[in-house]
Symmetry: C2
Amino acid sequence: MLAIAAARLGFRCHIFSPEAESPAFDVAAERTIADYADDTALVHFAKAVSVVTLEFENVPVSTLKVLERHVPVAPGPSALAIAQDRLSEKEFVASLGLETAPYRCVNDPADLERALSELGIPAILKTRRLGYDGKGQFKVNSASEVPTAWTALQGAPVILEGFVPFSREVSVIATRASSGAFTAFDVTENEHRNHILACSVVPARIGAPAAKAAMDAAHRIGEGLGYVGTYAVEFFVVGDGSDERMIVNEIAPRVHNSGHWTLDAAITCQFEQHIRAVAGWPLGNPMRRFDCEMLNLVGEDIGAWSELARQPSTKIHLYGKREMRPGRKMGHVTRPLLRQEQTRCRDF
Amino acid sequence: MLAIAAARLGFRCHIFSPEAESPAFDVAAERTIADYADDTALVHFAKAVSVVTLEFENVPVSTLKVLERHVPVAPGPSALAIAQDRLSEKEFVASLGLETAPYRCVNDPADLERALSELGIPAILKTRRLGYDGKGQFKVNSASEVPTAWTALQGAPVILEGFVPFSREVSVIATRASSGAFTAFDVTENEHRNHILACSVVPARIGAPAAKAAMDAAHRIGEGLGYVGTYAVEFFVVGDGSDERMIVNEIAPRVHNSGHWTLDAAITCQFEQHIRAVAGWPLGNPMRRFDCEMLNLVGEDIGAWSELARQPSTKIHLYGKREMRPGRKMGHVTRPLLRQEQTRCRDF
């Protein structure tokens, strides 16, 4: 989707990927298939392009550092380094005076027992690196589960997060230019099923002060990271009315699934906004055209595609993945929400 | 733009082009560079894909016939054959009972003198094949210009068209599925400068009966051609009020520049609609979201790109052409038209 947005602005894309089959190859002018540690390939790639960006937050920081010696890289390695590690991310967010879930760094089962007694039960054990869609997480419901939890995450560096009794999950998709210019899309409300985003609805059902707090937090995070490009900040909403509070859950240093609605319902989409930022263009207008919901087509949901393609107000996007697997994101749809009172995240 | 629309629906594109550098290569998975007469390459290509379509009406009919023996081709060779020749196109349109500019087939200077005396002066001499953007045309303003006109078109087969004193030019961008399902975008009003489309505005400033007549004419043309895909019908509007009349000027058997506004201002754009038709999908919703104007960036207009990229309500599209040439379409912008009374086709 980034390559498509770039093409529409007249840019030619060159994709670097360690995978022999990358979906981006199908919409890009050039490709390099090489390992992230292949310095020769990296230098060759860097010299062939005028700017490098990424769509995947787990590119090794060392890879970006090699590239950065030859070509601008946005977002840069220092922002990535923070966002790749849950511990440094939480420390960074806390350093800005923003609230996070309570957490403890945990190095062994004894640490875990101590942390559990401090944070209470239930709590979530999470690997510091490489987790997504619920992978690398274990919910601890009682002290007796400590050995199982420890084994499940196979000795990877972890943190324990206290459970936040949230009423909703929301996200802000924001973009920061190297000039410091900042835009954000309207706060989006997200519903997960089996730890995978099922549905996003915009606008989120939160009060105006809470929405403003989320925007401000996202802005400060972008500034603090010196971030260039589009990124997402996920929040837990706790309390309600005048007690409504935003707790930073996670930073995603990339375009984000909960921003896919912007393709159809915002003047400028998150992908174009990212390309504009990394290319040094002025940022576009993030204004939303209408209330909407985005539904992911996960695994066998894809079976509904022809019915969805037929609905006059539904915009369907299919990712062209050749194999359906349970839990795999195969596409998504965006639909206008005609009335606030409608049931949201309807099944198709 | 077709390849991008296809990618968004999950299709992989394979581009066949006789040109070593085609812009579509930059957004497609596979490419074949070969001549339109290279039957071996054509058969190889046909066997590699599940359906063939075209973005350019001057692919030889013989090429499509070779392909069609191995794979569905939409639109098909018979529709192309009619639209590639101004004479057969005019005869076809007239056979449907639709009005065209008066015309005469002209084979030599004596024919031309006779046709001029019948159709009156001024009149337009046009090559039957391969004309676009005013190329292959010569406006004859007096009988004394006959030798010059004849020489200018270098003995190519031509027709003479009587001059139509039109008040405006409009177009209908329509899509027909193989099932016969038909959709059309709202009638668009077009302004040319130096024979090149400068600006399209939608809705066109014509009465509802004239708009309906244009839609009906487009529908009958699509049916008559057995067309599958998106096509444009250009009309001259003559008379006004209850005397407003639509005269068919030209059929373009492809997506059309005057439909570029649909990328930003229609629920489904002309490119997606074309892909849906040729892939056998249900057609999308052609509804327009707002009144708008599309301005082409022709030649040195491209110098305004950074100013245009900064305007909050302007959507900019650049085509990534590496060289600017006078008269070359380098990109376009779409902007909402806030009030009917506004000056239209403002310069940037």
